[in-house]
Symmetry: D2
Subunit: 360 residues, 4 copies
């Protein structure tokens, strides 16, 4: 089954476990003659790489990506692009006692229920490490979008809340996002959040967060009714990021409190929209406005506080997780969210070309 693939025409299949020899992905359907080299991908991986601040896991790996196929003399050939990162820092001894007991809130029990076996080393396939390949694929999607749509395409994400604290949207500054290790767009939130994270880390606990991702410069017409909706695909993509429990497009849950005249974005010739409650998508199709998605991500289950659980044999036990863990996985979800947005948009761009491109 294609459970490890996403996208229909820009199709990404990822493979690999946290502590196996390598992780990788295959991108099938990328158009030919795009300029692509490892230099287009590596910077995005570097952004996501752990060990860069005290707020992400201390696992240290170069995460050096290699292009193994699909590129010739600096250009894509239209054949599958295989990307691989070798795992170099695999301190699997840290995870020894995890082999026989389940972490509450973690996927390990669900894997065992389904498969009757799991690679427990570092979370195996459920590790956030898998998201490195999403970031790599997203980098290729960015090249595709830049080449086919134009330099004006911008896909950016930011951390907008943590532990119940949220930014002041009026202070949103995209440049600030690049300046602090939390990808926070509100300079005044950075200090308090760093203090909160330090305290969480000291407690051996973890904390939830919210992330917003915005795509600008995309054409109208991406997406399709009724089950090929751009917002439905984005919702699936964002909900598929490890730990995400809620997803919004545009005004999101706030629409529940609105009346029709408050929610409808007035249209002026252009077309120009006087507001963007819709988050750039109507009827599942992009309108040319910024595409806005938002999600909440739970606190990681790997904490030092003991929680009641059971062993594989079904006996009661208390579980706490030693080892290196992010106190807030929302931080590293920021580059992943951008990458997933880029992949979904690249996919829908090709889908639109296929069906509707002929008469333009």
């Amino acid at each position: 089954m294609s459970d490890n693939s996403f996208g229909k025409l820009f199709r990404v299949t990822t493979w690999g476990e946290s502590h196996g020899p390598a992780i990788g992905c295959v991108i099938d359907g990328c158009p030919p003659r795009l300029k692509l080299s490892e230099e287009d991908i590596q910077p995005w991986l570097d952004r996501r790489r752990p060990g860069q601040s005290r707020f992400t896991t201390q696992r240290r790996e170069p995460d050096q990506v290699r292009i193994l196929s699909g590129v010739f003399e600096g250009q894509t050939t239209g054949t599958p692009i295989s990307l691989m990162i070798e795992n170099t820092d695999q301190r699997s001894k840290d995870y020894g006692d995890i082999a026989t007991r389940y972490r509450p809130g973690h996927a390990d029990i669900a894997y065992d229920m389904k498969y009757g076996i799991r690679d427990y080393r570092g979370g195996g396939r459920s590790s956030a490490r898998e998201t490195a390949m999403r970031v790599a694929a997203g980098a290729v999607a960015r090249v595709l979008l830049r080449t086919l749509v134009g330099e004006g395409v911008k896909i950016r994400a930011a951390l907008t809340g943590i532990g119940g604290q949220t930014i002041d949207p009026s202070r949103w500054d995209w440049d600030e996002v690049e300046r602090n290790p939390l990808w926070c767009p509100d300079a005044e939130s950075v200090g308090p959040w760093e203090a909160l994270l330090d305290s969480i880390r000291k407690d051996g606990s973890s904390i939830g967060a919210t992330v917003e991702v915005v795509a600008e410069g995309l054409p109208a017409g991406l997406g399709a009714p009724v089950y090929g909706k751009l917002d439905a695909d984005l919702a699936g993509a964002m909900m598929g990021i490890n730990g995400v429990k809620g997803v919004e497009i545009g005004d999101g849950f706030a629409v529940a409190a609105l009346r029709g005249e408050q929610n409808a974005d007035p249209i002026a010739p252009g077309p120009q929209f006087a507001s963007n409650h819709a988050g750039g998508i109507l009827g599942g199709i992009s309108t040319g406005q910024p595409i806005v998605a938002r999600f909440a991500i739970k606190p990681t289950s790997s904490i030092l506080t003991p929680v009641p659980s059971i062993t594989r044999d079904g006996e009661s036990v208390e579980v706490m997780t030693k080892g290196r863990h992010d106190p807030c996985i929302g931080i590293r979800a920021v580059p992943v969210a951008e990458a997933m947005m880029a992949c979904v948009l690249a996919d829908h761009l090709l889908r639109d070309h296929a069906q509707c491109g002929w008469g333009r």
Copy 2:
């Protein structure tokens, strides 16, 4: 492209416009030898049917479903099941002036941007009418789940909020849901909500809402990492319901404020879980707990209040929508949400059979 299909193994393809001769769907992959007749489907359609209370559109149609293939002597044969409902009440004259102008907040402009053509009669393909076929497909999914899993499977939804007012969860009563025309589980909310809806309707306006859907009695092991996640598929399915702008699983957005020890559901032998913050899904795989999804749905864009807009020719105009419309599309989204949940679960059950069923 398969934009009008959902599901991989229990695959539903819908077709039809609001004011065409009929709407229908084809279900491919349904197992053979399930007892199925129109009587298994019709009651669910009757629940969703418009015109039953003053809070839903006054379009009156019997919505009589016909099984055109795939069933022989009262049993499914394993071949595609074709379902059809004829459109009998198509007062298309109501929509005449909509042909040349766009309703702010409506899909019509997006369809035109993408396709350069749209069937403007009653919203065409973007009409909520299409969801009748989801309900029909959901009824078949229920038969599948009941037969393969057991009578204990329950998939139920309820209206949990409207216009910013929410139910008191402590008063949740599933029986109440069947007793009031709003599918509200809190008897004390019904009166005030009916009053609110009357006022909204009198104003020619509309209002947003929230819906919760719960599936019980399902086995552990449905879903898959990493892009076949049950929660990701549910998120896509719910976000694909007309007007939905936000989706949650389990605690949803509330997780952003939680610490790891608050979020993790403790596990006791069984396994039993002491709480259900996860909404029945860990790592994209069901755990056997109730599966809980929630979504927010925007106020419909068809309102009597004039909103600035443009014509197809790009000229400024004010638009207001005459005709028959639901003041709160969240109400009729309740049976649709149940149906989508049923379809997603049926699909994942078959997917699990395929990959993991062999050794059980």
Copy 3:
């Protein structure tokens, strides 16, 4: 599962049994703004319709197609196109004794082995009647190809052999194909073949045949390595026609006897090819030459000669089939082959647009 669909981007899903109320198909992915009406489809159905000569089944039905969705004011809208034909002549009494015994060479035993149930009326889903919807879908594919590629597209098939007799290729005349009831391109073969068929019919027997289908006027670049090969898709499409047991592209099985210098088609500037051993496809991709496929179709299993068989209960029995049957199903496979070729090409055209269309 999508077992009743074919095509990826021009996606056709068929449904319906021989003796159910109707048969139909849904075409998903058709581009918008193609001029389409029932008049574009009906003539192709009329060509295939049974009862037109003494060499095809005497079942008489108008096979009147209805477009139920996806077309508005004479143009496709980009939404799914639903086509339906009502079954009007369903003399199911003819098939009564078939319910409990298996016809040697027929699909009925295989269906029962797989599904544990089958709709035995007229072959149910395995009936050649299903191919009417392929012809209908093929007619839409022709409109697509004509609109997107040009009027020069020609997709034609002919009966090239019957019962071991073959045409003389030097007498091939496409006009002759339309003049005789066998779709035979060689005027001198028609008489002897009619005599053979009369004798076969008198004997209550049936006979095998070969069909060749040729597509001209298509661009180079359709298809893809390695599992999206145009020839592999054509082979699957042709082998999927009821009764087909062998498929060839270009020189087909004759290549087994050739040396490299005999098989290679020399290339001149243009590019022009000095011959077409390849059948218009190299490496799975079209070259702009005529695309040539050929297949062999077995004699139908419905014959008056008794053959040893068993009942559903596993008891020995002799089976002979009364009722109306084609003495040579190869004849009616001719329009079906054209339709499948058209659908495969339409699909690959859209696939090529998606991936490679951007820079052209």
Copy 4:
């Protein structure tokens, strides 16, 4: 697009070019808890490996496969299995003059027409080298079939004809296949064929061939009507092998000459079939009889005889191919055919489990 994948539930995606750093594949959907190690795969690769006799290309590589994911402690985990073989012998200088001119009969011109770029080193993606990964995937499919169906599953292929000479079927001996370097089942054909191949090789030419592949011990019920037919999938899989131009199931093209009573396989209680004209498949579904497929493969286009062609710039030129090439690619197609058969059957086995497994 998923052009580089095959299978729906046992899904194989291959990547890599002849002269890139490596080739590989990802298998998604393999059931968990199958015993699998590199030792299960390597022997099949060794069978296919070039350089083992004077009749296959002299490229010498160990073709050492590595499992990079999806296996833990000797068992599959249900997550994607990534396999990789490093390319170690990449004498790309041999192919230098191929960069600017097209080989008649080769895929290079078609790739250029489609993509506007091609990796000309050793045929790039169109190289037979890609088939190594099919053999590797086939080895995993064999493990799946052996585990889920039983030790009785046998999937074997043999070279049945070369240059117009064919074996005597009455001398068919599966043991002989393993004894000669041509995989020929007829001991008396081996000598003359070796002489023919020596002469072909001396001439710098190449020759066509036929291959037959037989699967035994499989259950009835694999496949599905109407577009999920087992024979249609096999036809697509076989036609997708490099150079294949014709495919047959069972009696294949011979059916064109048969009458109904000659073609129908009589059925006795069991069910037992008195003959196997059908090749083990009726109505697209397996019957439990041996599944028999056959194909013709063209002579490779890489020959020393000059053939008229053009350069990339469209100028006339004569092309002959230096370098290491198989005089008869049919020989190395034998293990590839077995592998494709195994993959298709594994896929259909899982598909059957999904839909029909519930009541057994």
